[in-house]
Amino acid sequence: MGELFQKRGTVLTIRLPKEVDHHHTEAIRCEADRYIEQEHIREIVFDFMDTGFMDSSGIGMIMGRYRNLGMIGGRVSAIHVNERIYKILYLSGVYKVIDITKKREWSNRDEKKGEYGDGRYE
């Protein structure tokens, strides 16, 4: 788990697993909150580089961290987001409160599709 969490100053980057479901989010929630409390984190970046699957447990994990950071005025973002993950973030409404940066492979295809076109490209 250790190497999936990277701290730079007050920014914590969490490289998420292939499947962000209830089973996998449990440990990430605890570890992230430990960082927020003990290491003065002000910003969390969720890195979806490896992630192909997410369900509402992932949404709960992101929103929970957003709340915990929000209380101290922090922010949350998501990077390397593919089409599927974007769909989940979009449907849940989470896209309204966090910054989303799409995965490069997807950005071209997305122009044609013109759907869920709210995220920045990277």
Binding site: S56, S57, L91
Partner: protein
Amino acid sequence: MEDTNEMKMEFDSYSSNESFARVAVAAFCTRLNPTLEELSDLKTAISEAITNCIIHAYDNQIRKIQIICRIKGQEVEVNIIDHGKGMEDVAKAMEPLYTTRPDLDRSGMGFAFMEAFMDEVQVESTPGEGTCVCMRKKLGCFTHPYA
């Protein structure tokens, strides 16, 4: 090819079995030639229902979860059954953002995702006895431009 096909499975409510359940149901549906997007939709909906059994029905105790899956023509029907605590008010439970476990960082989006990703979702529940979530979806019948 045969027109109906049925599969039942039962497994322990360990969270490590969530991904097994998704993969098994998806593999059962392969012969319908689903698109990748349809498969992801199906897997997400199943993941929601299984997670609910584990967290809500059984309060993280290890009990049995049952899946009954039927393919008729191009449609798959998935029933996910627990014998856990059940719900008093199903309509309320199904409202988006409603959750009884905000302490566990539940988003209250489980049923909303099931409804978004499947064609049909029916829930039967009896307090103290358990819950059956029945979901249906047509697969692989449209030529899909992105999958």
